[in-house]
Amino acid sequence: MEHNSHSFRKSNEQQHDSSSQQNGKKQFSTAEEAIRADAAEVELPPQIEARLKQTLSTMTGTDKKGWWRKWF
């Protein structure tokens, strides 16, 4: 089932750069606006942070050196 509730406003309707909602249909002025709306709905999977911390904790001192050299 297709549930199309998003569309683009025609150019003469593009009075400002923010999205609007008409009859439950969300309309976008620009591609970036649609992409921002999509990005806002995407959650960062928490397992990335856990994996990253795990990987970093097992890295050798040489690998870590680059980071610490910058700060000290």
Binding site: H3, S7, R36, A39, A50, W67
Partner: protein
Amino acid sequence: MQSETPNQIATDPAALEWPSPEFGAIYDENAKEVYYLCLRMLGDPAFAEDATHDVFIKAFKKWAEFRGASSVRTWLYRIAINHCKNLVQTWHHRHIITTDDEVVWQGCSHDSTPLEILEAKELGQRIHQALDALPEEYRLLLLLVADEKLSYDEVGALTDQSADAVRGKLHRARKAFATQFQKLS
């Protein structure tokens, strides 16, 4: 005594610590945007997850090379773009092609209603399909310009062109995206 295998990595991020608070802050400020760029460049949440992990590992290792000529966000995006392009190139060589029927959506917030989830999922799929139908140059341009923290100069630096060229191409990229987006109605 039982030892922990690689598959038994703790999934609670708070269970482990960052090697430094500064690196943790960089992750907190940029990870979501890097993940989203990877998600839309690769079209698959699992690949995007791996790519985001790899981008931050590379950033950690290469931190000494970061000279501060650009923002940290721009620097991370450059690593991410190169990483994703290499992955896509490898897939093409191996003839591994993902289809639009495969999952391109990563869930939305837990307090969303079923209708909101459906709408967000539909938007994610249409954005992905519309971007996928564009030339790579337009796709990347739109994804970068959508990040309001980047200036046209920074987008130009990331895509090897001037800010004026970005502005010129952006008009055509928007039009191409709108056409593709409406086709999916």
